[in-house]
């Protein structure tokens, strides 16, 4: 049974220069308890994909131009804002990149966790408090009962991210989306947070989508990987396969840039050039202008995602030919 299935999702933004597709024909799916990694540079459309699934993009300027987001047998793109509110929390929840700014500075962390539960379940205050303490305990905040009344500014970045996780899991979601959950943290803390996410997956059995530009994070956590470039999915495979036999030249470039947990900026030294702006993407393959293997055909048509090996697909005209030694 698929937990989440995204089909041909296209999200467009109204800009000063007309409507621009931030992501195009994005398709992927996720099983219960599975961890899917989405990789790409900033601007590749990873976060827009996540926010579209959550229904958190401001509309306008954003608009879902095409596609479906199937979750628990329902198409989330068809739901009203009210119905979506019931999905956020107990259905899908999300943690963000910046633990320093993602918690409201003027409310205690206990208040922020308890109100999440209260928004979805009718419980007496004492029970809310008990649940909040239990969650803080689970994410590894020492002496949770005492820290419940602390304010975010009294905690370190790593602790705040733990609080964010506690809040996101407070309603037992079936799916957790983690958008760059460790990017803003120190290296040692990064590993702890990733371990925590894996442990909680084992305990709660929820599916996780982890969004990152860091191949090291993917190697540590993901079961499957999806690579995005300029708003499109360009390769998808089980994690071992990607590291073993990348098919797309861009993925190969990514892997060559010495990705590791210590690397925190998404600067791809091995690939010349930069990601094109959404409004000025080239015709044909988006990666062609930067690709060392591009030929004239690459500049005319967009290569579609094609299953080239079992459970391994890529969007490149020359993938097969380049892969064979």
């Amino acid at each position: 049974m698929k937990l989440l299935e995204v089909r041909d999702l296209t999200t467009a933004f109204m800009t000063g220069r007309g409507e621009v597709n931030a992501i195009e024909e994005v398709s992927f799916s996720l099983e219960e308890g599975q961890i899917l990694g989405i990789v790409g540079e900033s601007g590749s459309g990873k976060s827009v994909t996540a926010l579209t699934v959550m229904g958190l993009l401001p509309r306008p300027p954003a608009r879902i131009a095409a596609g479906q987001v199937l979750f628990g047998g329902r198409d989330l793109t068809k739901l009203s804002e009210r119905e979506m509110q019931a999905v956020r929390g107990p259905g899908i929840s999300m943690i963000f990149q910046e633990p320093m700014t993602s918690l409201n500075p003027v409310f205690s962390i206990g208040d922020q966790i308890m109100e999440t539960i209260a928004a979805h379940e009718r419980l007496p205050q004492a029970e809310l408090r008990r649940r909040a303490i239990a969650m803080l305990d689970k994410v590894g905040i020492p002496s949770a009962a005492r820290r419940l009344d602390d304010y975010p500014h009294q905690m370190s970045g790593g602790q705040r991210q733990r609080v964010m996780i506690a809040m996101a899991l407070a309603c037992n979601p079936k799916l957790l989306i983690a958008d760059e959950p460790t990017t803003a943290l120190d290296v040692t803390i990064q590993a702890q947070i990733l371990d925590l996410l894996m442990d909680l997956r084992d305990e709660f059995g929820m599916g996780i989508v982890i969004i990152t530009h860091n191949m090291g994070v993917i190697a540590e956590t993901a079961d499957r990987v999806m690579v995005m470039y300029a708003g499109r999915v360009i390769e998808e495979a089980p994690v071992a396969t990607i590291f073993d036999r990348p098919l797309h030249p861009y993925t190969r470039g990514l892997l060559e840039c010495v990705p590791s947990l210590t690397e925190d900026r998404a600067r791809l030294v091995a690939i010349p050039g930069t990601l094109p702006e959404p409004a000025r993407r080239p015709p044909g393959c988006r990666f062609a202008p930067r690709c060392l293997h591009a030929e004239p055909a690459c500049g005319t048509a967009i290569p579609l995602l094609e299953t080239l090996e079992p459970a391994h697909s890529a969007a490149c005209f020359r993938a097969r030919e380049l892969a064979s030694p």
Binding site: V20, A22, K46, L57, E277
Partner: protein, 294 residues
């Protein structure tokens, strides 16, 4: 939301920064509207001797309480004086007072603010006095000062300067404090440049933007406060035509001749709104950190 599509990044042509600023100002709708309104009032004030034919103080009891019309554009007041002439000369006085207060603030606000911000030893003493002057309600202090000095145009200018210079100085001081710590200033200090040179070449030019914005709003406050003082009878002495005096005299004839109040009132409103729009535009373009719109 770092990944949300942003469609910036047009290749910018190189252009002289001052010209680029001017171009942006003149594309700013609010700024242009404000400049237009203010220019009308200022133009009328300057042209006062040529666009009025009657002495604003000449009484003509035969012609009292004439409504605005063909013969008398703005009508006449309770003494038969031409309201057009009085409002036009009132505009001149408002402009003179506004411009003088702005000039005094530009000079002394900069001097005090720069001294306090740059020389740490002076900071505490200067700012305590500054805080104390700012603690008084503005109009009350202005009234008290004019009452001590005696009511006259010059004393109104002095009183309003005493009220507003501390506020200008505080703005200059906070820019100077930030700029003083900048690396290029520290480099100039290390290179042995004198205090005066550092202030003049490195700090003050960069502290100008917030002050220019402040001065345009200050012009509005000065015009407004002057009208308030003369409305209360502690400004320029009647029969000198100031907008506040005209309105104060019109109070007793609200029923018969409301135009004596409404015409200078609208003139005052147009001036203040023009300056506020001008200030908003300047702030948006020169000092985007303080931007209110968007």
């Amino acid at each position: 939301m770092s990944d949300v599509a942003d469609a910036e990044g047009i290749a910018l042509k190189r252009e002289h920064p001052a010209r680029a600023t001017l171009r942006r100002l003149f594309r700013h709708r609010l700024f242009v509207t404000g400049l237009f309104l203010f220019a009308i009032v200022a133009g009328i004030g300057i042209a006062a001797p040529w666009i009025t034919t009657v002495d604003p103080q000449r009484l003509s009891m035969r012609n009292k309480f004439l409504p605005p019309g063909e013969a008398w554009v703005f009508g006449t007041d309770n003494f038969g004086r031409s309201l057009w002439a009085r409002v036009v000369w009132g505009a001149q006085l408002s402009m003179i007072i506004g411009a003088s207060v702005v000039a005094l603030n530009a000079v002394f606000g900069t001097l005090i603010g720069a001294a306090a911000g740059y020389f740490r030893k002076l900071d505490n003493a200067l700012m305590r006095v500054n805080d104390a002057l700012m603690a008084f309600p503005a109009i009350l202090l202005a009234i008290a000062v004019t009452s001590v000095l005696g009511p006259s145009t010059l004393n109104v200018i002095l009183a309003l300067s005493i009220v507003y210079i501390p506020r200008t100085a505080r703005i200059v001081r906070s820019s100077v404090i930030v700029l003083r710590e900048m690396e290029y200033v520290q480099a100039a200090v290390a290179a042995g440049a004198g205090h005066w040179r550092i202030l003049r070449h490195h700090i003050l030019p960069n502290a100008m933007a917030p002050m220019i914005v402040q001065l345009s709003f200050l012009f509005a406050y000065a015009v407004l406060s002057e009208a308030t003082l003369s409305f209360l009878g502690v400004g320029a002495v009647p029969p000198t035509p100031t907008w506040g005096n005209i309105m104060a005299e019109g109070r007793d004839f609200m029923r018969e001749a409301p135009w004596i109040i409404t015409i200078p009132g609208v003139a005052l409103m147009i001036t203040v709104m023009g300056l506020n729009l001008l200030g908003d535009g300047l702030r948006d373009v020169l000092d985007p950190r303080l931007r209110i719109q968007q």
